[in-house]
């Protein structure tokens, strides 16, 4: 089965000069949600990735919101399937940006 190819915005203002995209090819057995993809990347491939991993699973709290292919989406209910390519950006940058996909709660 073809992997999902994710280009994920990476920037730690304390350590990096400028933002970059990290490419992750993730083997996903079936269609799933973007938050599952991010969790898989962080836990199994790259523990340095930061994103808001809390998930109410109900498309209600808004904690997981990111931009997927430039569109604002809830990562908990945006689906991704094997073979997909997607670009994941923080909801805002540079306003409120903290690290990688994490922005402030204000």
């Amino acid at each position: 089965m073809e992997p999902v190819r994710a280009l994920v915005f990476r920037f730690d203002p304390e350590r990096d000069e400028k933002p970059r995209y990290a490419q992750y090819d993730v083997a996903m057995g079936e269609e799933t949600y973007v938050i599952v993809l991010l969790d898989r990347i962080q836990r199994e491939m790259d523990p340095t990735l930061s994103f808001r991993s809390y998930c109410c699973g109900l498309q209600s709290c808004g904690s997981c919101r990111v931009r997927i292919n430039k569109k604002r989406k809830f990562a908990c209910l945006a689906t991704v399937k094997p073979g997909d390519e997607l670009v994941i950006d923080p909801l805002t940058f540079p306003e409120g940006h903290i690290k990688d996909l994490v922005v402030g709660t204000e």
Binding site: D12, T32, E44, P47, Y54, G57, K99
Partner: protein
């Protein structure tokens, strides 16, 4: 969720309230047997500091979601951040925990796309069928506690153990379940399951047994006081409210009724104790060193592997049906996981270091696993959520008691405490069936 958002807005608008967000409490500070504050990691900066407090309220949620591989409160296996932290923090501070062996298990729709959709009538009323297409249970509402009944979950589990799994919910050709009362989010979810093409009215849906709720927890009284002065608690972190069973909707009472009470009592306590005692500096220093030691470059143990080991251990040894020798073997595995925690490898960055958060929380979770295991081993009977094959019957002669767990120096002590009986008599069935 809307209520939480509103509460947050109100708090933020009050000039005399400082709301600290993205903070991880790593330990409660104690002085002279009272809780006097906490040590905290600021996730946004990676700074460590101590907060002194006249009164402290635990509202950290349950622990069962992270303990087991499948859980209704971890949508898609992703944590809701309820990782048992409050249970472990309270225990370290010397507070009593009760009935930690009482973990509720329920049937869950299996697979990534279903787990978050459990809270929905189509997914819980059945009928439940085995792999051969035979009905295992189609009278779910006849149980006391209906779809929340331990009998249902245990029956489905035993059917799988007999080799007749997997179990399915099959509602094809059935009239839709009663849609009253009309709940707004259910209507939205009905649209969603149609869009995702996972409607149990249209498809056979495989189910797994997963954890749902911690019926035990930090011991509180009716004033939401724990057994340690200055420490209050509300919500799923608390015990003494459910015992060996619980009914649907009780968590809301636990959260709201006891949340208000905990807030009131904490405020009164703060008024009566107007001087903060000052934080014991050596505790904070020791804690800072402990947290920082996760960042040592020579650490080699992967958190993801230890977490998987813990969940597999809990599912194999402390699941819905338990037995003595199996539990003893499980406790040895938990000890071996605990020993590896100081060697968990964490990248050395300060800002929003998710792996660091997860490592700190994991240590607390393993402590909770240990308390759950010891409590389960101690109760030598079957009662409600706690089912043992070596002690299959309820034993009101010996075990009409709470299981109390308390950390005494390095030793975890488990002892019984008689229950207070008011209106209902033990041994009498009050529900249907």
């Amino acid at each position: 969720m809307d209520a939480l958002k509103k509460a947050r807005r109100i708090l933020k608008s009050r000039p005399n309230v400082t709301l600290l967000e993205d903070m991880l409490v790593t330990r409660l500070s104690t002085k002279d047997g009272c809780v006097c504050g906490a040590t905290v990691l600021d996730l946004r900066t990676g700074q460590f500091f101590a907060i002194s407090a006249k009164a402290t309220v635990l509202a950290t949620g349950g622990m069962s979601g992270e303990l087991y591989p499948y859980s209704s409160n971890n949508p898609f296996g992703i944590s809701t951040d309820a990782v048992g932290a409050g249970h472990a923090l309270a225990c370290q501070a010397g507070a009593e925990l009760v009935d930690m062996e009482m973990v509720q298990f329920v049937p869950l729709p299996s697979g990534n796309r279903f787990l978050n959709l459990r809270y929905f009538p189509e997914f819980w009323v059945g009928p439940y069928m085995n792999a051969r297409g035979e009905i295992v249970e189609d009278e779910v509402m006849g149980y006391p506690g209906n779809f929340y009944s331990y009998q249902l979950a245990q029956k489905l589990y035993l059917e799988i153990e007999k080799g007749n799994g997997p179990i399915y919910i099959d509602r094809r050709g059935q009239p839709p379940p009663n849609q009253e009362p009309s709940i707004q989010c259910w209507a939205a979810r009905r649209k969603l399951i149609k869009r995702l093409d996972i409607d149990p009215q249209q498809h056979k849906i495989e189910i797994v047994i997963g954890s749902h709720f911690s019926a035990g927890g930090v011991s509180i009284n009716a004033r939401a006081e724990t057994t340690i002065p200055g420490l209050f608690a509300a919500g799923e972190v608390t015990g003494n409210i459910n015992g060996a069973l619980r009914l649907a909707g009780i968590s809301f009472t636990q959260m709201i009724v006891f949340g208000i009470e905990a807030g009131k009592q904490a405020a009164l306590f703060a008024l009566e104790h107007p001087k903060t005692t000052g934080l014991p500096e050596e505790q904070a220093k020791r804690e800072q060193n402990r947290i920082a030691s996760f960042l040592k470059p020579e650490n080699r143990v992967r958190l993801v592997d230890l977490r998987r080991q813990l969940q597999q251990t809990m599912e194999k040894h402390f699941f819905i049906v338990r037995t003595r020798l199996d539990m003893i073997a499980g406790m040895e595995k938990i000890e071996s996981i605990m020993e590896q925690i100081p060697r968990i490898t964490v990248p050395a960055c300060k800002r929003f270091n998710l792996e660091w958060v997860r490592a700190i929380e994991f240590e607390l979770l393993v402590q909770v696993a240990k308390i759950t295991a010891a409590s389960a081993l101690a109760r030598e009977e079957s009662r409600g959520f706690h089912k043992r094959t070596d002690f299959p019957d309820e034993d009101n002669g010996r075990w009409l008691v709470h299981t109390v767990a308390r950390q005494n120096e390095a030793k975890l002590e488990i002892r019984p405490r008689p229950v207070t009986i008011t209106r209902l008599s033990p041994g009498v069935s009050y529900g249907a069936r």
